[in-house]
Homo-oligomer: 143 residues x 2
DNA sequence: CGGCATCCCATAAGATACTG
DNA sequence: CAGTATCTTATGGGATGCCG
């Protein structure tokens, strides 16, 4: 089968582990860095391994490799070995990967708006530490 | 505090654990049953605890409870105690939850098409036309 | 340069039993 | 009915080191 998909994904499909198609889609993008990788590939064009590391400084060597491998196995990203001397590999987004971008964009929008909302309402509320700090500061002032 | 959000989510937000907004959105829906719960609440109206269990026979009692609790804490779902005698609780989707539905629908569509592709093309190669169709359809939707 | 192998830990989720 | 409590397992991800 030329259209390889990660075996565990295929197994889950066949064993009915995904009770609906949305979960399958979720599985495609739910690695910690996958959406970011896809987004940048779509936005900037080809990347190489260490380009990603510069882009996402906190990602581990190993984890980055696994995310890229899974994306490639799921056909969302194409991996190409360019040289053999100091081994050089390029990653590009595939048409299939591109077809996922609108979803990612929507998630981006939704997240931004929601975070803004939270920032606004958070002041009054959430952070107990902040409230506590304010109390302490008030106490200092009166002291 | 009027707008509660799960503490770990807020902590991650504040500690910069989400390197972008899409990951925050992903966190909202990436419980194993959350999208399904949201989808059905949006589609069918209010549900009660054991309604969900009938709907998703394989979900564990405990896991269902935790998914619902998180959804409620994230303000995507509203929990209402209706009775106190044999305790009766209703779950409804909130406007915020509804705002997430278009994303879930897109994921649903994408997944269905991709699964069909895989069934059909498992022996052939990836059909770019199909991916292209998906792009066009996605474009139409956003238009 | 671009990996893989190994070990370790945190968290998600399943099984089971108990409760207001 | 609608949960909580406890225990256990599976998985994702981080840290580190070796390799072609």
């Amino acid at each position: 089968m030329t259209d390889i998909v990660r075996k565990d994904v295929m197994q889950r499909l066949e064993s009915g582990d995904y009770s609906c198609a949305k979960q399958f889609t979720l599985a495609m993008i739910s690695g910690k860095w996958k959406m970011i990788i896809l987004w940048h590939l779509n936005h900037d064009g080809a990347y190489r391994f260490n380009d990603f590391r510069r882009l996402m400084p906190t990602v581990t060597h190993k984890v980055l490799a696994s995310q890229l491998r899974e994306l490639a196995e799921d056909q969302l990203v194409k991996r190409t070995e360019v040289q053999a001397k100091p081994l050089k590999v390029e990653y590009e987004i595939t048409p299939l990967g591109t077809s996922l971008v609108p979803i990612i964009d929507m998630m981006c929008d939704w997240g931004e708006k929601r975070i803004d909302q939270l920032k606004v309402t958070t002041h009054f509320s959430l952070d107990e530490n902040v409230a506590q700090q304010m109390n302490e500061q008030a106490a200092e002032k009166t002291a």
